[in-house]
Symmetry: C2
Subunit: 101 residues, 2 copies
């Protein structure tokens, strides 16, 4: 039963990704860094408050980073980390499954 | 943004799989049909009450079926449907991701 030792990581991953909007935000960011407004425009039924909350959770989980560019006006972009980008095959497989069933 | 039409299915899948123990129960069943006790023995920290609840949810979602064999004593086994077995690549990719990060 050696593989069962991995279950907390495995479950934590599902718990994180299982939250409403999280999977979709990650999918949008897989196409490259985005500004807050880009994402909120792409997912119109999600509130800005929810998006802020999800960004904080994903940043805390090391899945995305927030870049602040000191321009005028200041530009802020959200980008997946390597850990975040590593979710692409999971997303692809889940998408295939969801489309099939 | 055609792929965004798929988001409800995609999110529903994550929401289902994100529940505590669900991913682990599916992984155990990927190795073949099991009795209730087989699974509860393999996941000792999960209560039997929780396992019953998860079985009901997974059956309702069409992910597993319950076989009742009219023997003495009656034998009951839980088996993944084709839909449930289709989750194997998702589980594999998530496992790889969780192990790496």
């Amino acid at each position: 039963m050696a593989d069962f030792h991995l279950c907390p990581k495995f479950e934590n991953a599902f718990e994180l990704l299982g939250k409403r909007w999280t999977g979709l935000i990650i999918r949008v960011l897989l196409s490259g860094p985005k500004r807050f407004k880009d994402i909120s425009d792409m997912i119109p039924s999600m509130s800005d408050r929810m998006l802020s909350e999800r960004f904080k959770e994903l940043e805390a989980a090391g899945i995305l980073i927030r870049h602040v560019y000191p321009e005028t006006p200041v530009r802020i972009e959200y980008e997946l980390t390597e850990k975040g980008k590593g979710l692409e095959p999971v997303m692809d497989e889940l998408q295939k499954w969801a489309e099939t069933w």
